[in-house]
Amino acid sequence: MGSVTLRRLSKIFDGGIQALHDLDLDVRDGELLVLLGPSGSGKTTILRCIAGLEEPTGGDVLIGDRVVTRDPPRARDVAMVFQTPTLYPHLSVRENIAFPLEMRGTADAQVTRRVVEAATRLGIPSVLDRMPDTLSEGERQRAALARAIVRGPQAFLFDEPLSRLDAKLRIELRAELLALHRALGATMIYVTHDQTEAMTMGGGAGQRIAVLHEGRVRQVGTPEEIYQRPADVHVARFVGTPGMNVLQGRGRGTGEEGPVIEAGSLVIPVELSTYEGELQVGIRPEFVGLCAVDKGVGNVDVLVVEPLGSETLVHLNTGGQALVARLPGFADVRVGTRVGVKVDRRRLYLFDAAGVPLA
């Protein structure tokens, strides 16, 4: 087993698009690290650079203590599972799982044993002699997983392996992957754009989430850390369903009622002694409340109401900026009406204009 370290990794594609900016990341030995980010944030590029499928423009990749930046994939001893289950269509499941062993010249007897072992671990020993096109989607991804674990690599790379599966299967396989991680104790890097998945996979002991945005790692931490203490406005916006409301505003130290922030149609009184000028104010939807007109910190228009059963999401327009409120149960709000807004002042996040948290 081995750690994976990225040092000042950067990648510029042929078209001149910079996918990674001087990125540093440490994945500890035996850790399950979830790379979370919106599409285009560079998470797959990181994975491909670690795998050796992509050559970084600058920086280094270390597996264990070894610099492998220029090594071909076969020399790195890592396994990768792709978004679509990529089985070789002309080989049976057994031959598929045996393929990486054969490529390394493993002895025949050992191959047979390890193939059966891997297949049993993933619960697919019964389909070993079938061809991939006769398998169900779930069986196919399990076979791909078996092919990844069969040679016991130093690290596993998962590139959104569950995103193409239906919800039920996804939950099932997620649990199995976690069990696999515990059982193998292997280093795993798991890429996803789905934060529910990220929270589940990165929630256990010795597990962390790294949030990516535009080719930079914004924050690495436990689910609680990134939810409660977002490292910047991007993390705040991305994490949570729906993400944090972030309003462009302006701080004023000398209002009639002390220092306030004006954001859209809202005027929020705050304990802010040192700051004036452009800033961004964030608040989670669950801490936004509605009240009668002129009773809160400002008035807003109701745009869309989403009654979800256990809660109701209300999309509001505050002077041109979007604001979402999450209300418990079914809330009696009409689209097109004007309502007042209350905010929990203790739950405000303040960022400067560049998105860095204030104090």
């Binding site: 795998a51 499928l53 990529t86 070789y88 269509p89 002309h90 393929f99 990486p100 490529m103 390394r104």
Partner: protein
């Protein structure tokens, strides 16, 4: 009613072949009758036994099979390798080379006939198997057919194979090539049939009857026994039957071949 019409048209299309078979059983005397008979008066197999010896049948089949077989293997291997390089490898000058290969497609066979003949002649390969086969071993059309097939392969399978530790050669031989099997069979079949029926080049480069391939031997029979139609028809039947058998055996692949190549350009 329409279906009956289909049948009639079908029989009309096949009629010349049926006539060929019919004449091949006629005795020489029936040539003199007017109007010419459609069916042999007194069927005889004498034409066939004469032709088996004259051609000589076994040798001609062997020559044709050697030509078609070697060219098939050669074209499949070189086309697969070059097509793979064009489709899945990045290297400087690739686009230029592809354009140059397309330009080669515009060279008609007739332009190459004389210089190739002179070349093979000066190598001392005239009237030998190397002379017959060597010029045909690469087909630019086949290269592009294979390139098209390799382009269709998903990138992720290639990545997966690399992760599994496959080197460039295993990637080609163990993963990519088996995945384009329909294109390979189509190319193999077409190359085989093309060569089995090739005429002008074997005509030019072989001289002796023991080097003759099917069509050249048949043309010899035609000139040697110009007046003896039953002889000629018997030889034609003898040389058509193996071709038909091959086509029958390969019928399944023929269909896939049409599917693979149907839309692509055959130059």
């Amino acid at each position: 009613m329409r279906k009956v019409l289909l049948g009639v048209v079908a029989v009309g299309m096949v009629a010349p072949f049926l006539y060929m078979v019919s004449v091949s059983f006629m005795g020489e005397g029936e040539l003199l009758r007017w109007p010419p008979p459609l069916l042999p008066h007194a069927p005889t197999t004498g034409n066939y036994s004469a032709m088996v010896e004259v051609l000589p049948y076994a040798r001609v089949l062997l020559n044709t099979a050697i030509l078609a077989g070697c060219v098939m293997v050669g074209q499949v291997l070189t086309s697969a390798a070059a097509g793979y390089a064009f489709a899945r490898l990045r290297f400087p000058g690739r686009d230029g080379i592809i354009a140059a290969s397309l330009a080669i497609l515009t060279i008609p066979a007739i332009l190459l006939l004389v210089p190739r003949y002179l070349m093979i002649e000066s190598l001392g390969w005239a009237d030998t198997y190397p002379g017959l086969i060597s010029t045909e071993l690469v087909s630019v059309w086949g290269i592009f057919l294979m390139r098209q097939a390799f382009l269709m392969l998903p990138r992720e399978v290639e990545d997966a194979a690399r992760m599994d530790g496959a080197g460039e050669w295993s990637l080609f031989w163990r993963v990519a090539l088996p995945m384009v099997r329909p294109a390979v069979t189509a190319l193999a079949l077409l190359a085989f049939l093309d060569q089995w029926r090739s005429f002008l080049w074997p005509l030019v480069i072989t001289r002796s009857p023991r080097m003759a391939v099917a069509d050249v031997a048949l043309a010899h029979v035609h000139t040697t026994y110009a007046g003896n139609l039953p002889y000629q028809m018997a030889a034609a039947v003898l040389l058509t039957v193996p071709l038909l058998l091959i086509c029958l055996c390969a019928q399944r692949y023929m269909l896939s071949g049409v599917r693979v190549t149907g839309a692509s350009v055959r130059l």
